[in-house]
């Protein structure tokens, strides 16, 4: 396990080194910070979806939930709710979406793929309906979370963007939850052998619902961050983001069969995608080409994983 992590982390270092040499201005403070900022949202979503994948589930509704929660937060802020409470409303709405996902999966016994696929359409539809599909501008103060930085020293060091700090804190907390806390242990147990877990007295349904709530709450966090960055509601945005999140988890060694995966792995996975996207862009590789490269990397990463686990 330690060796595996070392290998994937090695891949990040190698990628970073390669782009530092081949792409001009890649290895500059400004660019590294922008890369961190860009990757932070994928990482947050990836951490959430890792929880559901470990229980042998999946959450396809992430992208829609991001758009929906961002929209709701903006509307709340426009309505005059204090800004920080509007952010929290975004999170709560996200948590509620996850709760519904969990209920459909455990109560109605729907396959996670179907339940969250349905949720994708419903949530997107609600977001479009309440905004009439328009982007609504938020009060300026709403933009603080997405645009402000910490430790700014001037033009040389523009400061660490808040979303990056949020990502770091979230990663540490959820790593701790997954590896050190009962709920994390139960998450692995449910994904590894649901029946054995149930017969060991673990409340499987409750654990699954908690996992979907975690996933959607983090999607809600991303929704708030992205809306804050644009300072507008974007009911049409974030479509397909769940696939980046899932790709991050999978590159990071999370098994779609359940029972296997770590927060650290997912963080590394999302950085592999992030570094490649930014690096290829700066190299001048066009967007279509980038898609091909990322697709190939996902496939190779999993193929490598399969061989190694044989």
């Amino acid at each position: 396990m330690a060796v595996d992590r070392f290998l994937t982390f090695g891949a990040v270092v190698v990628l970073f080194a390669v782009f530092s040499i081949t792409a001009k201005n890649f290895f500059t403070m400004r660019n590294v910070l922008s890369l961190l900022l860009q990757t932070s949202t994928t990482t947050l979503m990836g951490i959430g979806v890792t929880f559901t994948i470990i229980t042998a589930g999946i959450d396809l509704s992430i992208g829609s939930v991001v758009a929906f929660t961002g929209t709701v937060a903006v509307i709340a802020a426009i309505a005059g709710v204090p800004i920080w409470i509007s952010w929290i409303i975004g999170l709560v709405v996200g948590a509620f979406c996850g709760f519904l996902n969990g209920l459909m999966i455990t109560g109605l016994k729907l396959p996670p793929f179907i339940a969250t696929l349905g949720m994708t359409f419903v949530v997107r539809g609600v977001a479009l309906t309440i905004t009439n599909a328009n982007a609504w501008p938020a009060p300026d103060a709403f933009g603080a979370l997405g645009n402000n930085t910490l430790f700014r020293t001037g033009p040389k060091f523009p400061g660490i963007p808040y979303p990056v700090i949020v990502m770091a804190i979230v990663a540490v907390i959820f790593h701790f939850i997954l590896r050190k806390m009962r709920v994390g242990r139960y998450t692995y147990a449910v994904g590894s052998n649901e029946e054995a877990a149930r017969l060991s007295g673990i409340k499987v349904g409750r654990i699954k619902i908690i996992n979907y709530i975690i996933c959607s709450t983090l999607a809600g966090l991303v929704g708030v961050i992205l809306a804050s960055r644009m300072v507008t509601s974007q009911p049409n945005s974030a479509s397909g983001y769940e696939l980046n999140a899932i790709a991050s988890a999978v590159i990071g060694g999370t098994s779609l069969m359940g029972g296997v995966g770590t927060v650290g792995g997912t963080v590394i996975g999302s950085f592999i995608i992030g570094i490649m996207t930014v690096g290829l862009t700066m190299q001048g590789t066009n967007y279509f080409m980038q898609q091909i490269v990322i697709g190939v990397v996902v496939i190779l990463a999993v193929a490598f994983d399969q061989r190694r686990n044989k």
């Binding site: 050190k180 806390m181 009962r182 709920v183 242990r185 139960y186 692995y188 147990a189 590894s192 052998n193 029946e195 054995a196 877990a197 149930r198 017969l199 060991s200 007295g201 673990i202 409340k203 029972g259 296997v260």
Partner: protein, 518 residues
């Protein structure tokens, strides 16, 4: 004497770290059933896999029908005429019987569509050769396991197999199904097929076996005509020492203290109004044929399956919700017969499995797990139960069956369980380890635990329990005091014949009828 069809000479095979087969010789005649017995790890499976082409020998010669053969994969062996039926069936549940038999070589029509008609006709013909009547169009998963196994045998036969290897074929079958299987085996033998029969159930060999070879530690210890060898000799040679007794001395004394009261448990179509008590320090057996509802009763008490009526009281206090988590908190543990499917998270570590039902016991009030406390707890049980594992963080999948069983036991001991329900605790476990499991059960009872033991092996019921509940088709037929009963009496109750009627010793060879019972 029949000619030798398969001849193995001085075959050796090593895997990293182990010599799985050490200059083994073995031969099989046409039309004979040759039993291969030995403890787990004796080399039976390795030899089987070499014969069926899965592994290749490091040295030695294999002759099939007089010619030296080198199989590179199982397809080659199969096409040559060596078929193998694994313990776990290799069939596709959602396809029809005929589709399963002809999978990979389906007959086509001139328009390149599947020729269902021919496939079904051929399937009937092949099944007919075994005197089996099964509708070839029925979906496989609607058949009981025994019939599915017949389909597997038929499939193998459809390759004109002259050698058939059967690995633990009876492990999932009921008594009457076993009789059906034996009838089929007799039919095959009469047709001149040579059969290698691997089984842990030594008792059943007498019905079918002509010769027996005993393996131990990768070597072939002996080969004898079955009628010329005693059961004791077989067991002694298997374990390499004299097993004075199969069961430990019993010191546990059932108390007067009722620990569990079960009243009127009913689950429609499965369990009918079952009531009984369990006392502290008692070992209570559940006997019955497969499908009698023994596991279902255990699962109902434990709260694993919902029930329609009835109550379970622990120390006089009714359990209200009848869920696994409530039962565990009350001190009831259920050790499933399917260790891998229901008892263990096989990809998780030993320590994580041991603590699984009581993670609270190794974590702080805030729910943070203490790795140190978890490992300490695990180490205690590894020592106490002599679990053989390279480390506490070994993935459970890598342990042997017996040691996996011990991990499950450790899990429940760590919950301070007051009642342990063992469902077929020794299934698939070799003779030496069985004794250790029996000792453990006896010790638990002696220490004041109430034990329920479900077993299909009557000697085990007679050797280990204080009282026996005999179930038949979901009803409690009799509650017997073990030392006053006999195997015959239990069997009669189990067969629903009451206490008197005689049960025919061996099933008659009637054609196997189609069944859609799950």
């Amino acid at each position: 004497m029949q000619e030798i069809i398969l001849d193995v000479e001085n075959v050796s095979k090593s895997f990293p770290g182990v010599k799985a087969l050490d200059h083994v010789s073995f031969d099989l005649r046409k039309g004979e059933v040759h039993a291969l017995v030995g403890e787990n790890g004796a080399g039976k499976s390795t030899l089987m896999k070499i014969l069926s082409g899965v592994h290749q020998p490091d040295e030695g010669v294999i002759r099939f029908k007089g010619r030296e053969v080198h199989f590179h994969d199982s397809t080659q062996a199969r096409d040559a005429g060596i078929g193998i039926i694994y313990q776990e069936l290799n069939l596709i549940p959602h396809l029809s019987v005929a589709a399963n038999i002809f999978i990979g070589r389906e007959p086509l029509t001139r328009l390149f569509t599947l020729n269902e008609k021919k496939m079904n006709e051929d399937a009937v013909a092949i099944l007919g050769r075994l005197n089996i009547r099964i509708d070839p169009t029925i979906t496989l998963n609607r058949l009981p396991i025994s019939k599915q196994q017949m389909v597997e045998i038929a499939k193998s036969l459809s390759f004109d197999s002259e050698v058939l290897i059967m690995d633990e074929p009876t492990s999932a079958l009921t008594e009457s199904e076993i009789d059906e299987l034996f009838t089929v085996i007799h039919t095959l033998r009469d047709r001149g097929v040579g059969i290698i029969y691997i089984s842990h159930r030594l008792e059943e060999l007498k019905h079918i076996v002509d010769r027996i070879s005993i393996f131990r530690d990768g070597r072939s210890v002996s080969t004898d005509t079955y009628s010329a060898i005693t059961m004791d000799t077989i067991v002694n040679r298997m374990v390499g020492r004299t097993l004075e007794q199969k069961f430990p001395a019993r010191h546990n004394v059932p108390t007067e203290e009722k620990i569990l009261e079960v009243r009127g448990i009913t689950r429609k179509g499965v369990l009918h109004d079952i009531s009984f008590d369990l006392y502290r320090g008692e070992i209570l057996g559940f006997a019955g044929l497969m499908g009698a509802g023994r596991s279902e009763l255990a699962r109902a008490i434990f709260g694993a399956d919902p029930i329609d009526a009835g109550t379970v009281a622990m120390n006089g206090k009714n359990l209200t919700s009848l869920s696994p988590s409530e039962s565990i908190r009350a001190g009831i543990a259920y050790l499933s017969e399917n260790r891998k499917q229901e008892g263990l998270a096989v990809r998780m570590k030993v320590a994580e499995n041991v603590s699984m039902a009581n993670v609270a016991g190794v974590s702080s009030r805030m729910g943070v797990i203490s790795r140190r406390r978890e490992l300490q707890a695990c180490q205690r049980y590894v020592d106490e139960l002599a679990i053989r594992t390279p480390s506490l963080t070994q993935v459970v999948n890598n342990l042997s069956g017996g040691n996996q069983q011990k991990v499950v036991v450790a899990k429940w001991l760590f919950c301070n369980s007051k009642i342990l329900i063992f469902d077929e605790p020794t299934r698939g476990i070799d003779v030496g380890t069985k004794f250790a499991i029996y000792e453990l059960i006896e010790r638990l009872a002696r220490e004041g635990v109430g034990v329920i033991m479900i077993s299909s092996e009557l000697p085990e019921i007679l050797g280990m329990t204080d009282r026996v509940l005999v179930l038949h088709e979901g009803s409690l037929e009799a509650t017997l005091v073990t030392k006053n009963t006999t195997q015959e009496e239990i069997l009669n109750f189990a067969a629903g014949l009451g206490g008197k009627a005689e049960r025919p010793l061996n099933g008659q060879s009637r054609p196997v009828e189609e069944s859609t019972q799950p």
